[in-house]
């Protein structure tokens, strides 16, 4: 698993990237009440906004850590957005994309480097 400076995580399985927000981000946002998901088939562009997360405190943009086409979205978040708080790096995943440029994965932060920017 790798991380972006904008607090997203990426798990790369073959050419599929699973994307969510980090534990740190979920904690900072507080109780999440709404996750606006992209449509299946839409294109994500690295470092561009692809969705929003609304918590009781604030509304926050979610940035794409990699470029690619959305092949699956976590529909469960519609009914239960709190999944992102409960299990941000597991059941609280947001989208799966088919990556167009696997090299982008190498540009992302490893866990130690990400932890360092959160402190």
């Amino acid at each position: 698993m790798k991380f972006s400076k904008e607090h997203e995580w990426v798990k790369l399985e073959g050419d599929t990237a699973i994307i969510g927000i980090t534990d740190y981000a979920a904690h900072q946002l507080g109780d999440i009440v709404f996750v606006e998901l992209p449509n299946k088939g839409s294109k994500l562009e690295v470092n561009k906004v692809f969705g929003t997360i609304e918590s009781v405190k604030t509304v926050s943009d979610v940035f794409a850590p990699m470029t690619g086409e959305v092949i699956e979205v976590n529909d469960e978040l519609d009914a239960n957005p709190a999944l992102v708080n409960e299990d941000p790096t597991g059941n609280g995943w947001i989208v799966k994309i088919k990556v167009s440029n696997p090299n982008e994965y190498d540009q992302l932060l490893d866990e130690a480097a990400y932890k360092a920017i959160c402190e």
Binding site: G30, D31, V33, F34, V56, K57, T58, P81
Partner: protein, 482 residues
């Protein structure tokens, strides 16, 4: 909710009143109106007058307003609106005129508008005022369009507006609306603008700095003179968000602090109804060098005769029809005139005194992140309740059970679990003391019975609502029920 909809109270054939017997020939609408415009069925509920009156009266009793109880919503100035304002605005000479009447038949109304402009100019230290904008957000947009027109005319290549991280949420939204990029400026550890961060972001493409003073932490930025100099050094303009003007009336003026553009909220500071009781009014004031960009028409006075002037090539144009929300302006002028200079000064002084009294008392039970003399509002943090799993939202909801409106919560964003209180000058010490007592009781409940808070409110007509779904997927049409 316990109250049914009018449509659910519908009894076919019931009427509010009976029409007198028809004394003209009957015609069939189909003979006179094309059938495509005729509806076969009009879905209107049928009720008697008494049923209708009771329905709306019951609904009104479920509402909270400043006439029912304390309303300490921060940065909103929910002060009491004296009823004499309403009486004056309803005088036939004000209430029964029409915006399209000829100027010579509404000389009094025009004089009233001009007088209000002059008083607001004096209070803000600005050279000219427009009364057109309908509320604060439109005032912001008007002010920013004026800033943009100024830079465009000078050929300045400007792209950014600087906004402190404590700024009101509408500020970045308004900047984005007029096409500026927003740059966040950090606050320092005293809660004011971090001068070093401002210096780092001052650049030739900065169109202006948009701030509230006192800011949303209720703190007055004493560095305002230096901030103004910095912004002006790149020909940027300084914008004053007047949401917190209630703290400084008659004591200091944005114009004297170096601001170029100001907006006021008459529905906050000048005791006209706020929120659903509006409409609002968001006049904008400018210094002389921006006067040419103000919305038109302008009211001009020559030999005691008032008229409209529309000829101005540099204006940003009209932002609202009919010269603003006239009856709101009447109420605000009434308030200014019967308060007088000393009265307005006193209002601000008491607003500041009440806020400091409340903050000092609440400090014993809650964490105060910026523990220093505040102006008309202050911010506390609910983070000390986290041990019991209680959040600021729970405290806010529990307050409803005691008949109070909640404070502004989770704002400003720079304070964790923020609660922002603005008591205003119109509350007595007794009210403040009762409220403080309830806040202390809630802090105690958070420790002894946290579930009570997590399930609050329990005594309101509806319990805790799913606000996010209500906003995102509103179900407001009776006929679309599944």
């Amino acid at each position: 909710m316990t109250e049914p909809l009018l449509f659910e109270l519908d009894t076919k054939g019931r009427r509010g009143y009976a029409l007198p017997k028809l004394d003209v020939p009957t015609v069939d609408p189909a003979d006179h109106i094309p059938t495509k415009f005729l509806r076969k069925q009009l879905d209107m509920p049928s009720l008697s007058e008494l049923e209708t009156v009771r329905h709306f009266t019951r609904l009104s009793r479920m509402n909270h307003s400043v006439d029912i109880g304390f309303y300490p919503l921060g940065s909103c100035t929910m002060k009491y609106n004296p009823k004499v304002n309403e009486n004056i605005a309803r005088l036939p000479g004000f209430a029964n005129i029409h915006p399209y009447q000829n100027a010579d038949s509404v000389q009094g109304a025009l004089k009233l508008l001009k007088t209000t402009e002059q008083y607001l100019a004096e209070l803000t230290g600005m050279d000219a005022i427009t009364l057109q904008p309908a509320a604060g957000a439109q005032g912001e947009m008007t002010g920013l369009l004026i800033i943009k027109a100024y830079h465009n005319k000078k050929g300045n290549n400007k792209k950014k507006i600087l906004i402190p991280d404590s700024g009101h949420g509408t500020n970045p939204a308004s900047c984005t609306m007029v096409g500026y990029e927003v740059v966040n400026i950090k606050s320092d550890d005293r809660g004011c603008i971090d001068i070093a961060d401002l210096k780092a972001n001052i650049a030739p493409d900065v169109a202006g700095l948009m701030i509230t003073n006192p800011n949303t932490l209720g703190l007055f930025d004493e560095n305002i003179g230096e901030l103004a100099t910095l912004v002006h050094s790149v020909d940027g303009l300084l914008y004053y968000d007047g949401a917190n003007f209630n703290a400084i009336m008659g004591w200091t003026r944005p114009g004297d602090m170096g601001f170029d553009v100001v907006h006021l909220n008459l529905h906050k500071t000048f005791s006209t109804p706020h929120g659903g009781g509006g409409p609002g009014s968001g006049p904008v004031g400018v210094k002389a060098h921006l006067k040419e960009f103000l919305p038109t028409p302008r009211i001009v006075e020559k030999n005691n005769t008032y008229s409209f002037e529309d000829q101005n090539n540099d204006t940003i144009g009209a932002v609202l029809g009919s010269f603003g929300n006239f009856s709101v302006i009447v109420k605000a002028l009434a308030y200014i005139m019967y308060s007088g200079k000393e009265g307005l000064k006193d209002a601000s002084a008491y607003a500041v005194l009440n806020a400091n009294y409340m903050m000092k008392k609440l400090k014993d039970t809650y964490y105060v992140p910026y523990d220093r003399f505040c102006k008309h509002e202050f911010v506390i943090s609910g983070k000390t309740l986290a041990k019991q799993g209680v959040k600021t939202l729970d405290v806010a909801k529990r307050l409803l059970d005691f008949g109070y409106h909640s404070p502004t919560i989770y704002f400003p964003l720079i304070v964790e679990e923020a609660m922002m209180f603005e008591p205003t000058e119109t509350e007595s010490k007794d009210t403040l003391d009762s409220f403080i007592e309830v806040m202390e009781k809630i802090a105690k409940e958070a420790v002894e019975n946290p579930d009570l808070l997590k399930n609050a409110p329990i005594s309101t007509p509806v319990r805790r609502l799913d606000e996010a779904t209500a906003a995102r997927k509103p179900d407001i049409n009776f006929y679309q029920k599944p």
